[in-house]
């Protein structure tokens, strides 16, 4: 569907997506539309296919059926690096940082993705990029840990570092898979503020998979509830909160 100026209305469109693993259907007939600049939370019980959905969008898994369309272009089953280069960057559920590199070195990697990675050049970023890295580290509360090995960071700090690296990649669509897992209440709050601030201060579209309802309540205007591989409901926090069925499948079961 195109808006007036010929630009697609949705940054991301997922049509009839399906993924089976042997006999197990992880994602089933899933349709989803994300508007430009939207901040969307995806919730749902464990094993309902949320991470699989991300994997299908980013090319880490190839769908059994269905299509993924990013900014009007079909990207179904493209290779991972090519999908990334269109501007879709993700934070994995298990924090994935380069543990053997320092925090600063981790942050530089996305910058190398944008330059022609010369074999004989110096591996330094420009003054401006250095400045940008330090600002990003400030934003994810890691400015003091720039020289620390990423492997030595606490679980929550790794999550922040990964978000910082995703930001350094200048995403158009950012996918965050359980960004507050393993965080204290205070850290969760900081992360919620950060995600909200990112969404408001830039035109980055964001999809967040979250379990923490406090987080969801704070950040999301629109929530998608998944159940058994499909979309179960979409609505605001209040609508979701008031929905009896959702309590049965999700809230009721888990809390």
């Amino acid at each position: 569907m195109l808006a007036g100026d010929g630009k697609p209305k949705h940054i991301l469109e997922v049509n009839g997506l399906r993924k089976t693993f042997g006999g197990l259907t992880a994602v089933e007939n899933l349709d989803l539309r994300l508007e430009y600049g939207e901040l969307r939370c995806i919730i749902g019980p464990n094993g309902c296919g949320k991470t699989t959905l991300f994997n299908l969008i980013t090319g880490n898994l190839k769908p059994t059926a269905g299509r993924v369309i990013f900014e009007g272009r079909e990207i179904t089953a493209w290779p991972v690096p090519e999908i990334s280069r269109l501007g879709i960057y993700r934070k994995f559920q298990v924090p994935s940082v380069f543990e053997g590199l320092t925090v600063y070195e981790n942050m530089r990697i996305p910058y190398f993705a944008r330059m022609k990675p010369s074999i004989l050049g110096r591996s330094s970023v420009s003054r401006n990029e250095h400045q940008e890295i330090m600002e990003l580290l400030e934003r994810v509360n890691l400015a003091g840990q720039a020289g620390e090995l990423a492997g030595n960071l606490a679980h929550g700090q790794k999550q922040w570092l990964e978000i910082g690296m995703v930001l350094a990649s200048r995403p158009r669509l950012m996918l965050l898979d359980e960004p507050t897992a393993g965080m204290t209440i205070a850290e969760t709050k900081i992360t919620a503020d950060l995600v909200q601030e990112i969404s408001e201060s830039s035109n980055i579209s964001v999809m967040v998979i979250e379990h923490d309802l406090g987080f969801v309540k704070e950040v999301a205007r629109k929530i998608t509830v998944m159940y058994k591989g499909s979309i179960f409901r979409e609505g605001t926090y209040e609508e979701i909160q008031a929905d009896k069925d959702i309590h049965d499948i999700y809230l009721g079961r888990h809390r």
Binding site: P81, S84, F92, S124, G147, N152
Partner: protein
């Protein structure tokens, strides 16, 4: 605490001064040690910096040596005159290896081989090529090719062992500087990211497979250069240089020296070969046992190898604008 650069300068000074103080026997011996050291550095690039454990790396060394021998002995039809010079031999060895590794790497890495599978397949290739050369009458079969001409460039023959040594020394230094440049480049930063977490690197937009193929070709080329120099310096080449034994040896040198460092790997080769030259006669078969045992111990207790800490300085080469590192780092990459 030592200033990080000093042990490396000592290594440099030692190898530079050796031909002026050592006798001819020593100089000849060290010419080959330099060649083995260069070979070990090329494996260090693949294994230590990208995590490609290549069990059959000698195939590149041996092919380099055979190509050098065949070119300079005019055994390749149609290649005579300037095309049979030392320079042509070296270029052919390096070029052929680069091409061979690109093609082989394409199959290996697009076939998603990694870890032990990669090791086993490369080993199989090395053993296969060894068998081919053992059975190939034209290249002397089991005996290989002897009387390989000495190196000569533009009419200047390096028949004086000291001159030859200095030439090989300069080329080893160039190989080291080249490899160091590569690992400290943006390309090097990306391959180290791929080594640490391939899935993560791909999600930042890097085709891990393409990088692996390229770095494989670089490692193979340098191994080919070492092989070519070996053929000219030793004046012979035999199937041993391509096969199982040589492949395991270079693995041991690199592991013992410290695979995550170029000079450390280089010194691993020099040290083990030197010890072998002096001890293997006295200890006969026990030598293999002892070196195997030391190898095991080092893998378990010194993953950084004997020289990893001494000779390598992780901070060196990383960006000038990078901030001070904390002193608490426990392990990690050296370069």
């Amino acid at each position: 605490m030592l200033i990080p650069g000093i042990p490396r300068l000592l290594v440099l000074a030692f190898f530079l001064l050796l031909p002026f103080v050592g006798n001819l026997y020593l100089v000849n011996q060290f010419t080959l040690l330099l060649v083995y050291g260069m070979f070990a550095m090329s494996l260090s690039l693949l294994w230590g910096y990208v995590g490609l454990l290549c069990f059959g790396h000698a195939v590149f060394f041996g092919l380099g040596a055979y190509i050098m021998a065949m070119v300079t002995k005019q055994m390749i039809p149609g290649m005579d005159g300037i095309l049979s010079s030392s320079l042509a031999g070296i270029l052919a060895a390096v070029g052929f290896n680069a091409l061979f590794a690109l093609i082989l790497g394409w199959f290996l890495f697009y076939g998603r081989l990694s870890g032990p599978y990669l090791g086993i397949v490369t080993l199989a290739i090395s053993v296969l090529v060894e068998r081919i050369f053992i059975n190939w009458y034209y290249t002397g079969g089991y005996n290989g090719i002897s009387s390989v001409p000495a190196l000569s460039f533009a009419g200047w023959e390096f028949s004086d062992p000291r001159h030859l040594y200095l030439l090989v020394f300069v080329l080893s230094l160039c190989a080291y500087l080249f490899l160091r440049r590569v690992v400290n480049s943006p390309f090097g930063a990306i391959i180290s990211a791929i080594k640490h977490n391939e899935a993560r690197a791909e999600s930042f937009g890097f085709h891990a497979t393409k990088y692996k193929i390229k770095v494989f070709a670089i490692g193979a080329s340098v191994a080919g250069l070492a092989g070519a120099l070996f053929a000219a310096a030793a004046e012979f080449v035999s199937p041993t240089e391509l096969g199982f034994k040589m492949s395991t040896e270079v693995l041991i040198w690199t592991a013992l020296g410290g695979r995550e460092g170029l000079i450390a790997s280089f010194m691993g080769a020099v040290t083990v070969k030197l010890l072998e030259n002096y001890l293997s006669e006295a200890l006969s078969e026990y030598w293999v046992l002892i070196i195997g045992f030391i190898f095991l111990l080092s893998v378990i207790f010194f993953p950084q190898g004997l020289f990893g800490r001494l000779l390598e300085n992780r901070n060196k080469g990383w960006s000038v604008t990078s901030p001070q590192r904390s002193k608490t780092k426990k392990e990690g990459r050296v370069c």
